[in-house]
Symmetry: C2
């Protein structure tokens, strides 16, 4: 029996166990080289092969066309919040943001340090419990780009499809919390970025998929490290790459391929999420946070009848080996993050515990009263 | 017997074996938590303790005063090349750089994208084979800061002490390749930064030690992620921290403390380097690159009599389990990087091989002819 527990953390999050086991070997001595993966030069043959394979597997998984570069950049999604407007939001232009939660707001805040931002839609009025619908989106006359956050961890909402954008305007997406959880049509985007620490690997590296014309369009007045151009020209080796993070991402890409690719991930994720949402829909004790049409398959957020019961739930669950269920401090309640690597058995264990907890506290007032 | 070889890589570089062995355990399940270090939330109790201990050990090792913050920032030293001028090089001011090699030149290049740079000294005329002397340094009238690179990996040169700087002007140092290899008087600096991947841990995180007044002085017009202020206020958790890199750095700090601290590191490093330099000084077959008064204890650079022999040397050495000895592509020759974690036995093995190679090729022309 494993000594590991069910880890519902929103990120850094659970990784596939075969990947972790492989890493245990490879940090000591990778590929018979006599040197561990942490200690290999980013310019040596061993790492050259790792990064080439990682890119190849990434391209294969998402069907990335030849006019897009795949880049691995240090600094996580938060640095991308800044790099995107620094590269593209030139004076006199307006960038449109679809604001679906705290992370989208952070992206807006960084862009406002650079130039003019238009919030083309915002879910703030309804506490981000759903994705804005098409009628609620109002683009500015000629945005330089449209930015969206595909999945919103804090409220458990997710875009089910890309919104329409004005013709010729690049769509830029922060996909940190649902990348490669389902098939993606890369051609709908100008730039896709994702911090690795939810679906792809450890914290400390972002995957960036960028169309060639955006690389060309980027500002040339920035320090090189902040230009996509520099990373593209040097194939992610402009500076010392975060080698271990890229290695783990590469292993995760292999694991996804071996598990059947993005279609298989989507099936598994839908199945896992349905176990939780079906249970929430069947009862009255717990209340789901996100509205039905906007529910995330990655983060399932729900509340018990009172805040006190929320706290009790998270604490008792942790004692049963169901860790990380406490909701984000800005939202409260519970959050079950069930990314690609999270096992179905863990979701079933959570529902079993939810039933048990409900039985023990059934006399509490119905959650509807709390909403 | 270990299946690991002697790794002379300039970075990412060899780590202490006890740290690597600990990491093998901790990626699976750290501190009995049932969750591996890669998968722990940066806001959970396990990681909180890791980062607090890492800071405490870092402060203890270097005797860091209370008016300095210790920050762990993603993006490596190359991002610091940009963040330093972005934060401090305001319009109308001049930043002075002491140019001792390619890495210092890269720092200059990034600063020039932001404002006015004065090269207070440059070793370019003598191919960076020594550190400029005091008489060669000419500061601008009122520099906003003075920037230096304490160790230059490519040529194997190192400042033996801090240069004098104009009164009240903060000295900012890139110490990526010699941090914690010897005692450091932090009070001589306004800001010290170091990419982790040579003496501290894996690639993907920089250690930043910054005085409070510089945090205050930093520009407020930047995206938050590029302001030292944001990282200081949130104690390195402004965004998702590179948790694994910080964990490894923390383990390396513990290893240095257990090994006797920075004084002990300095003794060991001097002893290791002396084995190589003494051998170079005693013979005529190989030629050391750096001038005697500027020799690095971290990177020992040398040439064989011909470029062809350089190549042969590096290839044959690799076959004997002496890896990574090929010099940087901009300098040629050989480079033995012997950071804190590199064992004395590996240096002895290198010298034994150098002797053997010399015996086999003694008939080659003297290296003096090549200089």
């Amino acid at each position: 029996m494993s000594d590991r527990i069910y880890n519902f953390s929103a990120g850094p999050a659970v990784l596939p166990e075969p990947v972790v086991k492989r890493a245990q070997q490879d940090v000591w001595n990778i590929a018979g080289s006599g040197i561990g993966i942490l200690e290999h030069s980013h310019r040596g043959k061993v790492f050259e092969r790792i990064i080439a394979e990682a890119e190849e597997n990434c391209r294969h998984l998402a069907g990335i066309p030849g006019n897009y570069r795949v880049l691995f950049i240090q600094g996580s999604a938060s640095l991308q919040f800044a790099m995107v407007p620094m590269n593209f939001l030139s004076p006199g232009r307006v960038a449109d943001y679809l604001v679906t939660g705290v992370w989208a707001e952070k992206a807006v805040k960084e862009a406002k340090a650079i130039g003019t931002v238009h919030e083309a839609a915002s879910g703030k009025a309804f506490k981000f419990t759903r994705i804005p619908n098409a009628a609620e989106i109002r683009y500015s006359p000629n945005p330089v780009y449209v930015h969206l956050t595909t999945n919103n961890t804090i409220y458990g909402t997710q875009w089910t499809a890309e919104p329409a954008v004005p013709k010729g305007v690049p769509l830029i997406a922060d996909t940190s919390s649902d990348i490669f959880s389902r098939p993606i049509d890369v051609t709908r985007y100008g730039l896709i970025y994702a911090g690795a620490q939810k679906n792809l690997g450890p914290a400390g590296v972002a995957l960036v998929i960028i169309r060639d014309d955006l690389i060309e369009a980027g500002s040339t007045g920035l320090p090189a490290i902040l230009q996509y151009r520099a990373h593209a020209v040097e194939r992610s080796l402009y500076n010392t790459a975060p080698t271990f993070g890229i290695y783990v991402m590469g292993e995760v890409f292999k694991w996804i391929r071996e598990s059947g690719g993005l279609q298989a991930m989507a099936r598994r994720n839908a199945e896992k999420a349905a176990i939780l949402y079906d249970y929430l829909d069947d009862g009255t004790f717990y209340r789901g946070v996100a509205e039905a049409g906007s529910r995330s398959l990655m983060n399932v957020c729900f509340c018990a009848p009172t805040e006190q019961l929320d706290e009790q739930f998270a604490n008792e669950a942790a004692k049963r080996g169901l860790s990380g269920l406490k909701g984000h401090r800005s939202a409260g309640g519970m959050r079950a993050s069930i990314y690609n690597a999270f096992p179905k058995a863990g979701v079933e264990a959570l529902v079993a515990f939810m039933k048990e907890f409900e039985r023990a506290h059934r006399s509490a007032p119905a959650t509807a009263a709390r909403a």
